[in-house]
């Protein structure tokens, strides 16, 4: 962990063409300070965004979408942002739709060094097209590959100065998974506390996953 930096410094890690994971279920648990910095202080474009939703109109990732800097989205639910749906339909962004549990597990696998997994979810549906199918104990499964990113942007309610993260309520969602699955993980924290102030048992993301901390504005 390299310490607490500004949001502007943090988003300099995002380069054009990168795959960027963004935590949150809708806007709950989304790293909104980092996203605003990405919108205002970065020119990185041609991005592949891995996030459960592509924000909301003009909010969160929805701002980046309006700037035309997203080339592709990997998501379980584009529909929550009608502007993302329009962008897909007009061919401005490419969409990869993944069932939500498969999405979460693929990111977990990406962070855990797993080369893929077979799941019964999606077998025999439109979302199985092009995927290897295999019958395991009589049940059709499809092969899903892991998802990794160049940079992960996550949100935690509290971090200590080492980068240990504690999440609050349903703002946890995809954040701990994404923190594990990128070359560079940047955590936005609602509050940064001294080392020792978090109960070790309450740490959900141990600090080895986190490269930089940014305080929420």
């Amino acid at each position: 962990m390299h310490g607490v930096i500004s949001a502007e410094e943090a988003v300099a890690h995002v380069r054009s063409g990168d795959t960027v994971m963004v935590g949150g279920f809708g806007l709950v648990g989304a790293p909104l300070t980092l996203l605003d910095a990405l919108v205002e202080h970065s020119d990185a474009t041609d991005l592949t965004i891995v996030s459960n939703n592509i924000g909301e109109p003009g909010r969160g990732l929805g701002k980046l979408l309006r700037q035309g800097r997203i080339r592709r989205g990997i998501s379980s639910y584009f529909t929550s942002n009608p502007e993302a749906v329009a962008a897909v339909n007009e061919g401005r962004i490419e969409a990869t739709l993944v069932p939500q549990g498969t999405f979460a597990e693929a990111i977990r696998a990406g962070g855990a060094g797993i080369g893929g997994f077979y799941t019964p979810v999606g077998a025999g549906t439109l979302l199985a097209e092009g995927k290897e199918e295999r019958v395991i104990r009589g049940v059709p499964h499809i092969l899903e590959e892991p998802i990794r990113a160049d940079v992960s942007l996550v949100y935690a309610a509290r971090a200590d100065e080492l980068g240990n993260l504690w999440y609050r309520r349903t703002a946890r969602n995809f954040n701990p998974l994404m923190a594990s699955a990128a070359r560079v993980t940047i955590a936005e924290a609602g509050e940064v506390v001294p080392v020792g102030a978090l109960e070790p048992e309450s740490v959900v993301t141990p600090h080895l996953y986190v490269d930089h901390l940014v305080e929420r504005v």
């Binding site: 709950v28 639910y77 549990g101 990111i107 025999g124 309520r169 349903t170």
Partner: protein
């Protein structure tokens, strides 16, 4: 859709739930079920965005921005609740640890196939947790009206819309009747609110057996 019909479907579906079960409720009619449960039917509500022990909607002014359900609506958490990440949440679902998923559908077939996420010719850009839930939950209960807004049957011989999953539905509750899939065959087990066998037959294209039970009649 007529609110009275929605409430009646939810009220009947609520009686399918048993004390102690872990239940995930989809958007729409299933979300009306918590208000319909009898007092001694204590179920544990799971929401796939990472909470077991979902409580009632918060009072005005007591909304916690970090506490929502999968419909992105504010909720509360009950004593005994737990929070977890999305991979753990879906491991619970896929791993068969959820007793029941209740959700809506566009079509259900006689074989228990369900279509509830995509309409041909429209955007196919949102699936959420629907596929995981119907594959993973031990019992899948569909709550829906017997016909679409265009009057087309929804309990059908074969689904025409893109499938969510094949062979997974156990119970269908509409405003007219209850169907159960038993040993691979669809059975009409109950008529609701004065509906007749002819009423059901008129709006059902799926083949089914008539096996009316008295036990659920009130």
């Amino acid at each position: 859709m007529n609110e009275d019909i929605r409430l009646r479907i939810a009220e009947r579906a609520a009686r399918e739930l048993h004390a102690g079960e872990v239940v995930n409720l989809g958007i729409g009619i299933p979300n009306l079920i918590p208000g319909m449960l009898e007092e001694d039917t204590e179920v544990y509500l799971h929401t796939e965005n990472g909470l077991l022990g979902v409580g009632p909607r918060p009072l005005a002014g007591e909304f916690d921005p970090d506490l929502i359900d999968a419909a992105k609506q504010p909720v509360t958490a009950l004593a005994g609740a737990s929070y977890f990440d999305s991979a753990t949440s879906f491991a619970m679902i896929r791993g068969g640890h959820l007793d029941v998923a209740v959700l809506g559908a566009l079509e259900v077939s006689a074989a228990g196939d369900i279509a509830n996420w995509a309409v041909p010719g429209k955007d196919v850009l949102g699936v959420g947790g629907a596929m995981d839930l119907v594959v993973g939950a031990r019992r899948v209960i569909v709550t829906m009206t017997a016909t679409s807004s265009r009057g087309e049957p929804k309990v059908v011989a074969e689904c025409t819309y893109p499938l969510t999953a094949a062979g997974v539905v156990d119970v269908i509750v509409t405003e007219l009747s209850v169907f159960r899939r038993i040993d691979g065959q669809l059975h009409l087990t109950e008529l609701l609110d004065g509906a007749t066998l002819d009423d059901v037959a008129a709006v059902t294209t799926a083949p089914y057996l008539v096996s009316l039970e008295e036990s659920h009649a009130r």
